[in-house]
Symmetry: C3
């Protein structure tokens, strides 16, 4: 992995998380997984736990459905390799909690700018289909797109993943 | 900006309009903004007016919800830098007015081919999600895709914008 | 066309099929079109027949809505140029027939690996929009994405087509 901070963006089932995880594991350092998925029910809790055990013992997992910047900051050390998966679920959590995006996103940019370890962030691209019928989905799409633009501008590298294949676009 | 004519394509909130506007403003010449947005109500009218004032005094704005080729032709002079934003709203306007696409699109291709100034056109990519349930959305998606292909074939350069980052694909 | 096997991926109305067909026709050899479209009614039957006649007499057409690997294997000869259009309809056919994806996809990978002629496969990217509301569409999206990743990993080359313009991404 070249560069200290990186965004990996792709569609659903594009292989973006697997690519990001492989990049992180190729780095020397302490691996920290910051999960934004929120366990609403037992099934979701089971899935999160299964993913955690799939990642194996090299990874430490932190759950941060909403306070993402704080979680990244706390994990950030010169020898850390931090993987945030994913920014789009984070957007969804903020939206459902009726929190505005401005302050949390500015904090995240700040943490990315002054970070010391390696930080890889995963995001969904959700804006390439038809305009959604319902207003909440449109707001979500706007939030996700805003996050993607702002984080892409903040990081050193951006990979777009299509059908499992990464394209370096920054 | 290299090339006389250019298509900037991207998803919702991808930063495509901002990128296209920055490209236009980097050119010497008289800036003309051709807006295809249609003010159906006061809220929409307010938004259009706000965007216009955001662009600042260097820009002259022309509204062309449907007669796009004519508007481009009229603005086209050797020293003009024309920004059309966007082709996908134009498709939507034609569809709602039950106008066929063939003749208007052929006219636009003709104007692009013989144009004298610089012309930058913005379009949405809307075909990378699930097939829409309703027939009108499917027709719209087909129209938008047809426009994108035909205009991409007609212009000198194409940029795909993902998360604010332009990729030169032609 | 460089490489023996190739995936052409793109959105709806992106020009992916036309690009794939032009690539196939640029190769010397016997052209075989493997159609996965399923004629549910007379209208669909008419469309399939019209496409077949549009392709012209150089092409032999085989219909394989579900048994895709077998159809490719049977057509595969050292001088064959096989075009499969498309993998995403195939996914849809398997889903509607309530067939699991694992075995058919493994068979297809096997056929691609040991093939003797040229094989070009077309697929839709459907994962770049908003998460669909209904569960069947989400399953379909997962299947399509899984196929795209696995086939992209199996073939020599991948082209992503945007607005009719191919990007070589592998």
């Amino acid at each position: 992995m070249n560069g200290r901070t990186m965004l990996v963006i792709g569609g659903a089932r594009s292989g973006k998380s697997r690519h990001a995880q492989a990049l992180a594991e190729s780095c020397a350092g302490t691996l920290v997984f910051i999960a934004t998925a929120q366990p609403f029910d037992d099934e979701m809790r089971d899935r999160i736990d299964r993913h955690r055990s799939d990642r194996g013992p090299r990874w430490r997992t932190v759950e941060a459905p909403r306070s993402l910047a704080a979680a990244v900051e706390q994990a950030d050390r010169p020898d850390a390799v931090i993987l945030v998966d994913c920014l789009t679920l984070w957007a969804s959590n903020l939206l459902l909690a009726e929190e505005a995006l401005d302050a949390p996103l500015a904090e995240l940019e700040h943490v990315l700018a002054r970070g010391r370890g390696r930080i890889i962030l995963v995001a969904n691209e959700v804006g390439l289909g038809i305009v959604p019928d319902n207003a909440l989905a449109r707001r979500f799409r706007d939030m996700a797109g805003t996050i993607n633009q702002r984080v892409a501008a903040s990081v050193d590298r951006v990979h777009l993943v299509v059908a499992g294949i990464p394209l370096a676009i920054k």
